[in-house]
């Protein structure tokens, strides 16, 4: 029997941070497999590289901070950040950019604020935006989905491309790359083309970008798994996707020739991934339920606004970071009514 008196409850605690993170990783599997299927080995190489760097960086910083290393590595949070970052960047991104982005995420965005639980921004998204503003060309050069490309890169070719920048013999960039569906849509709309014409392009699948829509479905499956496992609640993903769909729907109804169908917005970019895996990052999102609804809906609206009128095609990362800034304020004004208190309580 121990002599240390510890406060109740005394039973075993069923939840653990590492299990939560493991569930998130598990939920990412279908989407990641779809990405590998459509965009090749580069996705996997990026993930491996980012995870290795993230874990090493986490360990190094913890050792510099003179904190125990094992629990920090063992909670899998660095791995989750690394994977989310790696699947957000183009599959052919030069290795040093992946390395730089991962270091930025772990060292600057996470550890400089005090490590897990203290970062005000989503580390993966902050790193993504950091690379995007620093290296816009590399960050927007995407591979064409597998079925549209003239040459599918093999594993060794992918390795070579990522680590040396060398393309396979006789293959030009144009043969393997393509604009992302969102980018293509923006570009062609700017050229004055109508939705119907744009949709004739082979880039389009059934309801989103070809390939992309299945990746989104994979993440949707993972998202439903997270909901079922109660790792996340419905508030942020549903409000975010609903706001995006409603905003897109309104404009589509007003003018369907120049505004894409709402499903296109949901299934062509990072909306689904963002809704279930990124905006729900508990550390940097809102914590009250009402706050989460506002937070999610705001992200959805900002995504739509950036995609429709903004300069960048990658709206989710910006929208999430923007709302991360607002999260504490939203939380402050959305505290629930405490049991036994009448009306909304006065805010401190």
């Amino acid at each position: 029997m121990t002599n240390t008196l510890v406060s109740s409850p005394h039973g075993a605690r069923p939840n653990r941070v590492d299990r939560v993170m493991q569930e998130v990783l598990l939920a990412l599997v279908p989407g990641v497999l779809a990405m590998i299927w459509f965009f090749g080995w580069g996705v996997l190489i990026n993930i491996a590289l980012a995870v290795a760097v993230a874990v090493a960086a986490e360990a190094a910083v913890m050792s510099m901070r003179r904190r125990p290393i094992a629990p920090a590595i063992g909670d899998y949070s660095a791995v989750v950040t690394a994977v989310l970052f790696a699947i957000s960047v183009p599959p052919t991104l030069p290795w040093w950019m992946t390395l730089l982005g991962t270091l930025f995420a772990i060292v600057l965005v996470k550890q400089l604020y005090g490590g897990i639980g203290y970062n005000p921004f989503n580390p993966a998204m902050a790193a993504y935006v950091f690379l995007l503003v620093s290296y816009p060309v590399a960050m927007t050069t995407w591979l064409a989905p597998d079925m549209l490309t003239a040459h599918a890169l093999s594993f060794t070719e992918s390795m070579r491309l990522i680590f040396t920048g060398g393309l396979p013999n006789g293959i030009a960039w144009d043969a393997i790359s393509a604009a992302t569906p969102l980018d293509a849509m923006r570009g062609k709309l700017d050229q004055g083309m109508l939705i119907e014409e744009i949709r004739l392009s082979p880039l389009w699948g059934d309801f989103g970008g070809r390939g992309w829509e299945w990746v989104a479905n994979g993440f949707l499956l993972g998202g439903v798994y997270l909901l079922w496992r109660r790792i996340i609640t419905w508030h942020i993903p549903v409000s975010m996707l609903a706001a995006l769909a409603v905003a897109a729907g309104v404009f589509w109804l007003v003018d369907p020739t120049t505004h894409p169908f709402p499903a296109f917005h949901l299934f062509s970019g990072a909306a689904i991934l963002g809704a279930f895996f990124i905006a729900t990052d508990p550390v940097s999102a809102c914590t009250t339920k009402t706050g989460q609804l506002i937070f999610g809906a705001s992200i959805g609206l900002v995504v739509f606004a950036i995609r429709t009128w903004g300069g960048y095609p990658d709206a989710v990362a910006f929208a999430v970071l923007l709302m991360n800034i607002a999260a504490p304020t939203i939380d402050h004004y959305t505290q629930p009514r405490v049991f036994g208190h009448s009306g909304n309580r006065a805010n401190p």
Binding site: M1, T2, N3, L5, V6, S7, S8, P9, H10, G11, A12, R13, P14, N15, R16, V17, R19, V20, P71, D75, S77, G114, G115, I116, G117, Y118, T233, P282, V283, A285, T287, T288, K289, Q335, P336, R337, V338, F339, G340, H341, S342, R345, P348
Partner: protein, 532 residues
């Protein structure tokens, strides 16, 4: 209108926010009937087993006491009487370790039992209580030392006196028993359903005929059936309902049960009587029946002795004052070395440092947990703000905000976030993936706030004392100056006066000398007489 409403809402149940499902482990101890614990050789009976003032001893050390004899009288309004739970010799009234989270000692009456278990003369049963004055019945319950046996131990007679302005519409009998492992209320309902109902009926009479709602969690079907069967035998059916409520911790919390059964929320910092409701534990109801119908004080209770470290978990009818170690020995001792001994349930109970402490009125469970049942949660990790704590909080608080501010010792903010609405049910800590001992932080913060209030009160008192002293010193200074001034004036007035003063002084000295001489003479004379 009210009748229509009650028809509409018949059998309707409400929910409260949050709550958790915990593996209940009640099967460990609920399969055997309650066994009466043999008489121990020594009873250690604390003089405070209730919320309120410590009872004042009315017996003297060395005296022979009888079973049921009053040992200590309730002192003040919120207090409860303490009785001897067997006959024997009162060997000491001294501090002894008691079941308390602090592990500190408190005043106890120690009885060496004589084995005769002889009853004292008990007051007349009040079987005709319907014709008696309610104050008289209440006085009987107060005399019997009945307190809330669900764990809170608030004196029952006080709860049954809501005041003339307060109409009680609903009496709730709490048979929820939501804590995992504990089965004493379950067994009590199965075995003494009739007595519980009889007690409820007495309380119904005392409270001015409110309706009675009995809430039992649906993981106790036998208890539910037993109660229903017993109710069918009575004439209470017209105003009594027994409701099976979903098993969800903490449904047995007073405010949560009220919410489930009536849909009403007890306002913060108020007692349920404010909204016309009184809530009583099933054990208290049975104790009220014993006191009123048989004139028997509360000297024993059913205790669940369980946990996987106990060889034969079961429920025991235990005399108040029996050492916990006796209970464990009676249950076959330990099956394996316990990692923790807990008084109460795993969710809200407190760890006890050693098993020599006595059973008290609110002690419903002795829990010996194995390593597997209460594994070391390891060091707490950083809060990842997952919000699970807020999802399960039955008070709808924001536990993580409370935690941050408690940790930062920001006592104002922590109160802004309604720290004092926390019922310490432990749901938040139970689900926390970072294993942060959240409740510990809240208890710490509450204590800090209380300490600060006390400090403030003391500082205020000190300030008042200081000011009073200042005023006094100023006055004395003023008086002194006035005296000096007068003296000066009188000196200046002329020497004749001074002359008279000196003469007067001389005369006074002379008179004092004479008095002293007379005294001496008298003393000498007295001595002589004594010698003679």
């Amino acid at each position: 209108m009210a009748a229509i409403q009650s028809l509409l809402h018949r059998d309707r149940l409400w929910t409260f926010h949050g709550g958790i499902h915990v593996p209940d482990e009640k099967a460990l101890s609920n399969s055997r009937p309650v066994e009466v614990m043999p008489l121990p050789t020594r009873l250690v009976i604390p003089l405070q087993q209730h919320i309120g003032a410590t009872a004042r001893p009315v017996v003297t050390v060395g005296e022979r006491v009888l079973k049921g004899q009053l040992l200590a009288q309730a002192e003040g309004y919120v207090s409860a009487c303490i009785h001897a739970s067997s006959s024997g010799t009162l060997v000491a009234i001294e501090p002894h370790p008691v079941p308390h989270p602090s592990g500190l000692s408190a005043l106890c009456a120690v009885i060496e039992t004589d084995g005769e278990d002889a009853w004292t003369e008990l007051p007349e049963p009040m079987t005709h209580y319907g014709q008696l004055d309610v104050a008289e019945i209440r006085e009987r319950i107060r005399w019997a030392g009945v307190v809330g046996l669900g764990g809170a131990s608030f004196p029952t007679s006080v709860k049954l006196n809501p005041g003339p302005d307060q109409r009680i519409r609903t009496l709730i009998i709490n048979g929820a028993e939501c804590e995992p492992y504990i089965t004493c209320d379950d067994l009590l309902m199965r075995e003494r359903a009739g007595d519980i109902l009889a007690g409820a009926r007495i309380m119904h009479h005392l409270l001015g005929d409110p309706r009675i709602l009995i809430g039992i969690e649906d993981n106790k079907p036998e208890a539910f059936e037993a109660m229903r069967f017993a109710l069918a035998e009575t004439d209470m059916k017209g105003y009594t309902e027994i409701r099976s409520i979903p098993t969800l911790y903490p449904s047995g919390g007073e405010k949560q049960l009220i919410r489930i059964l009536t849909g009403e929320e007890v306002p913060t910092h108020a007692i349920p009587a404010r909204i016309g409701i009184v809530c009583q534990n099933v054990g208290s109801a049975a104790a009220v029946a014993d006191a009123v119908l048989e004139g028997r004080p509360l000297i024993s209770r059913v205790v669940t002795v369980t946990g996987r470290a106990i060889a034969e978990p079961r429920n025991l009818e235990v005399r108040i004052g029996t050492p916990v170690s006796d209970l464990i020995a009676h249950c076959g001792g330990y099956r394996e070395r316990p990692r923790k001994l807990v008084c109460g349930g795993p969710m809200m109970g407190f760890e006890i440092a050693h098993p020599e402490i006595p059973v008290t009125k609110p002690a419903n469970c002795v829990l010996a947990l194995t390593e597997a049942e209460t594994p070391d949660a390891g060091p707490a990790l950083a809060c990842i703000r997952c919000g699970r704590c807020a999802e399960v909080c039955p008070a709808k608080l924001l536990p993580q905000q409370l935690y941050w501010h408690a940790r930062a010792k920001d006592l104002d903010r922590v109160q802004d976030y309604n720290l004092f609405d926390c019922i310490e049910c432990g749901c938040c800590a139970q689900v926390c993936p970072s294993h942060i001992p959240l409740v510990q932080y809240y208890r710490y913060a509450k204590n800090e706030v209380w300490a600060r209030e006390e400090e403030k009160r003391k500082a205020e008192l000190a300030r008042m004392r200081h000011e009073a002293k200042q005023v006094r010193l100023e006055r004395q200074e003023r008086e002194r100056k006035a005296r000096l001034r007068r003296k000066k004036e009188s000196l200046e007035a002329g020497p004749e006066k001074g002359q008279t003063d000196q003469e007067a002084k001389k005369a006074a000295i002379e008179a004092a000398k004479q008095r002293a001489a007379a005294k001496k003479a008298a003393a000498a004379k007295a001595e002589e007489t004594n010698d003679a």
